[in-house]
Symmetry: C2
Subunit: 418 residues, 2 copies
Amino acid sequence: MTAKNAFYAQSGGVTAVINASACGVIETARRHPEKIANVYAGRNGIIGALTEDLIDTSKESEADIAALRQTPSGGFGSCRYKLKSLEANKREYERLIEVFKAHDIGYFFYNGGGDSADTCYKISQLSESMGFPIQAVHVPKTVDNDLPITDNCPGFGSVAKYIATSTLEASFDVRSMCATSTKIFVIEVMGRHAGWIAAAGALVADQGIPVLTLFPEVEFDQEKFLAAVKAKVEQFGYCTVCVSEGCHYPDGRFLAEQGTRDAFGHAQLGGAAPVVANMIKEALGYKFHWAVADYLQRAARHLASKSDVDQAYALGKAAVELAVAGHNSIMPTVVRKSSSPYVWEIGHAPLSQVANVEKFMPKDFISDDGFGITDKCREYLYPLIQGEDYPPFENGLPKYVTLKLAGVPKKLSGAFEL
Amino acid sequence: MTAKNAFYAQSGGVTAVINASACGVIETARRHPEKIANVYAGRNGIIGALTEDLIDTSKESEADIAALRQTPSGGFGSCRYKLKSLEANKREYERLIEVFKAHDIGYFFYNGGGDSADTCYKISQLSESMGFPIQAVHVPKTVDNDLPITDNCPGFGSVAKYIATSTLEASFDVRSMCATSTKIFVIEVMGRHAGWIAAAGALVADQGIPVLTLFPEVEFDQEKFLAAVKAKVEQFGYCTVCVSEGCHYPDGRFLAEQGTRDAFGHAQLGGAAPVVANMIKEALGYKFHWAVADYLQRAARHLASKSDVDQAYALGKAAVELAVAGHNSIMPTVVRKSSSPYVWEIGHAPLSQVANVEKFMPKDFISDDGFGITDKCREYLYPLIQGEDYPPFENGLPKYVTLKLAGVPKKLSGAFEL
């Protein structure tokens, strides 16, 4: 059997550690020249495959590929572009096969979240559905931590560490000032449907911080919330609020909806923090400050969790090893063996069980009052934020790599209209 | 001469390194028992002096005082409370003298920014104006970096490092996604009147990031700004905007004014980022994300600048040494001897030259188009963000100290109405 080329693409919102998975994929592929000739990366994700805009990763030095492990964002570019079903847009699949054939691609590594797992699953069916032999392996990634089966998703642990640390630091700040000044600090965090990131903010309660968390899983009850804020301020002198962007009223309206939608049709959120802060000010008169972390949280490689970086790399490595061993339609997973001490290993799951399944926070992870987390949740979260993995610094700033991104010469004539 | 007690207080907005100055003051005072018997800290700043609510720092262990160096926020509590002039509120000064006499206080160390330097100056005049002998030394602190004479102010270097790093990381994120998604990232930073912090965001241009900076020193010109954004997006595919909370229209209106004012009568700002982002969306149609760093930036001890931590400590130490040497009405300063390599030493300035003088960015630090910084500004900024000084971590989170804060028994009868 002669070696085939591999296609690798980053998909959806990027993270502090998705490049660590890319590093794991490429370094491992380079150790299997008998099976994998070269790794072509899609420029800007799957769009690079559709438009035959491929990046030749063999042109990147070993040092630059290694530096991906320490660089946030998507080194090859990502995109929000979801393939329709085979019935709805057969043209896209025919095009992919045309490009894969032209570049002798036999492996498809897709690094993304739930929507991308669905795309990867469809690709994995091409052998059967369209007679094109390809092995598709999904590399999990999402700060939302909402993929099923895997214990957690790379990207989440680092956001969790960043949000817990930032919430702790800002709470110390407010605590210093609350006697005469700011009494309320509101931090808004990501998480459309699942409150995993917000739960990380709730960890600071373990350090004596009066924190209230607003989860997307709990319908917002303004009266109950304001009473809880008042009680915290009366007891501690101040209160920190960690609000998920997905926090919503019983009728489904987000606290923060801006009215715009992204390419997947999801509402584009942002702005729950000022809404909550002003609501408190109006009802209780407390002086407030608020922050919206937005991309800072998912890009904060400077404070990545070592567990997270190690797992992101290990999952990229495992994806290639699964492919080389002949697997298709599969996703490597993190399997937790023990929380304390934290022991994990790599497992795998069939994509049919992953695609289009969204994992929510278990109900018993949220405290009875709806504003905090349970010990079970703590036990789950702490291992994921363990360890620091600082990037190198140069001249006061992190030294992140920007790749050469040399294109692979096109072999097909004509352009493809997205 | 018998030893006197010292009073130490933190004033105004706290920073990632003000506790490092406290550490410098207390550790140095403990080495001069012949002059300084004990350091009493004001609980919540000068209010602790007025209300005779003093903290006995001798009850804190050496390890906890040392841990202050690595802990953000104000360990003794701070406040926004500006003493009026002697003529306007003689009662406050009489009360201070009453408390200082009761607790045998002969040294006054005040750790704050411009308003606090003015208070410290007034205290330093009490010998002359009210016949009470006291030595007052100001320990500079302000993320706004707007104190005169000193090369820079502790707190600023760490915010600058945090903002430059965060802007870099988020820009990498947007760069990954811009082909099909977000093209504009707006980060809002602190700085009411001076654009020092915004200038730190502009440093990422040196890493190839298309960044536009909006300074308080430059009147906002919407048309010119939108044209600049369009040009960046057309050239690079995306654009980062670093907007100061103090950015304002020619008529003085802030982009972000919320209509509330703090205890000093300053407008409370926040929300320039969404204003700018929506303005771009409306005019140019680009998808955006925005972040408001708010307290996260000034509390981010996890990413403190080593230069900044070292200087904060050195200034606290120098304040005590100046007092012990008999000085009054003085502020230790940072004197820059060389930018490359960075060499600095501690100097000092009379408070009469510091109080009520605000240092703005020099005009030649801002580029001709008003959206960036000059090489002169770069040369100034880079030394201040040099070096990392990570706090210890425990169980995934920074290990910050919370002091015991044991009170000093009151000696006066009756309360003081603020």
